[in-house]
Symmetry: C2
Subunit: 316 residues, 2 copies
């Protein structure tokens, strides 16, 4: 396929869990579903046109400059010095402001679609900065912990942003994830503002660095109990938990239900739990949904599965 120029493409990019407990802004992993799909076609008119968006309830901007998928695609076109442009339709398959990397998935799908249409001038790793550009256009901040795993798949660590330095981490066999999305929203801007304005003491920093370092060791050693113990965030979770109705009960329900660990996905309100079997993940998901219902009177959607090895891709 390399070098082939298509006229049209459908690209899918998955939802992602970022932060993963102690890894604020530096790690994330890809899910199999849900995800966003970008249908795109090459045009002779320079620039990116958003022909339509489905599944967003009319909320997302159609202006190419502030749409994550279009801005990411535009960044790819610019970098490739490609003549002409692209017309895209974005099908939102994942909920907005859910903590599942919604704008990251849109940006990933947009960048991936543009790269396919142009005959793959860039490797997946090289697409990540364009995805970041797309996400910045949509939500104002340039982070990579959603867009990198959404493009690359698997479990991705961002060692550094300046320069961008990504490290792929192994995913243990037998690791299952339960994702529970309560039907309410958390503004990423508000959630990030809560964090930006704080300062933190060394004791909690030591706890988080110990946990994030051991989390990486657990992935390499396929040590699931250790991995679970590492899902312990003393810095960000205590602040952001206040934005998620019933969070303490939901987390307790997940752990009582047999999860290895549980924390907030991205900036929430989605909560994720890790488990060492599919039935355990299902029990955790069920307990978490029930806790959202009982404690906060909020219905929640749930997904269960593995970490997805594959990120953004062409679909039919």
């Amino acid at each position: 396929m390399n070098g082939t120029v298509r006229r049209t493409v459908r690209a899918f990019a998955p939802a992602t869990v970022s932060n993963v407990g102690p890894g604020f802004d530096i790690m994330g992993f890809a899910l199999h579903r849900p995800g966003d799909t970008v249908e795109a076609e090459l045009t002779d008119v320079p620039g990116i046109e958003v022909a339509g968006i489905t599944g967003d309830g009319g909320v997302l901007p159609r202006a190419a400059g502030s749409n994550a998928a279009a801005a990411a695609a535009a960044s790819v076109f610019r970098a490739a010095a490609a003549p002409g442009g692209m017309r895209l339709t974005l099908h939102k398959g994942l909920p907005l402001q859910s903590g599942l990397g919604s704008s990251g998935a849109s940006a990933a799908a947009g960048a991936f679609a543009a790269n396919e249409l142009l005959g793959r001038p860039f490797s997946p790793d090289e697409l990540v900065p364009h995805g970041i550009t797309g996400e910045r256009a949509a939500c104002g901040s340039a982070h990579a912990d959603n867009v990198a795993p959404s493009i690359l798949g698997g479990f991705v660590l961002i060692r550094s942003y300046q320069p961008l330095d990504l490290v792929r981490l192994p995913v243990p066999d037998g690791l299952f994830v339960a994702i529970v999305h309560p039907r309410c929203r958390v503004s990423t801007r508000q959630a990030r503002g809560l964090v930006r304005n704080r300062s933190f003491g060394i004791q909690d920093i030591v706890s988080n660095t110990g946990n994030v370092a051991a989390l990486v060791a657990a992935l390499f050693q396929s040590d699931l109990p250790l991995l679970g113990r590492c899902i312990d965030d003393r810095l960000i979770e205590p602040i952001r938990a206040a934005l998620i109705p019933g969070f303490a009960d939901v987390k307790r329900a997940a752990m009582d239900g047999g999860a290895l660990g549980c924390s907030i996905s991205g900036s929430g309100p989605t909560v994720f739990a890790l488990a060492d079997s599919e039935p355990a993940a299902a029990r955790a998901a069920s307990a978490m949904r029930e806790a959202f219902r009982q404690t906060a009177h909020i219905d929640a959607d749930a997904w269960i599965g593995n970490v997805a090895a594959l990120g953004a891709r062409v679909v039919n």
Copy 2:
């Protein structure tokens, strides 16, 4: 040997590099030398007696309750509910307040010697809490990032202090370490006080967590260039560098000399550099010594070697 009771023993425990850049209080590795040696004999009198100390210039306390080796040995005797006691002589082989884990090595040697004399009631992992007790007696704070690698050898991560949760990390072949100790002292209490009284912003925390996580990945992947990039501490080094005359020039000299990375060992003033060959480590050490001399007019001692797989041990 297990179960054998000796009447006398000589135990050696090595110097250690703790913090290792971004891993404040959570990681350390063992050196082959220098180190402390404890000569010990069982006695019928309960309690630990410090018969003598050599190599400390008369500075260290002889009172068993505030001597790291004796306090660690006492903790082992208490935990084993052993009758009788132990008389020890501590031979300081490593400089005091150097940032090379001086009290940690003494505590490790004391705990190890006591365990040998009692027929090894405890595994090396189980000795670590006793070593921590010894170090707390000597310097007031209970940290494990020197004493754990001094007992266990290799590269050790402390995921958590409460409960104590240690993770052994692999050491890549071909990794060399240059250690340069300028002949001046930094008080651990003062160095820790500088850190305790600060609070830290999220941006530098993100940088350190990214680097510490990638450092662990680099060890598992034997990726020495990545390992070098991870020796980047935005939280503690900028504060403590002020306590080390000429630090900025010494670090620059190490990097210009071909080191992969360079930072403060423990709370300083010792500086360590990582390199991918013995000649590169030697060049870095030489450049660092020269920089200490030129910039700060301080002579410095240097050691070059690998991370030591073996920690505390019986010697003849």
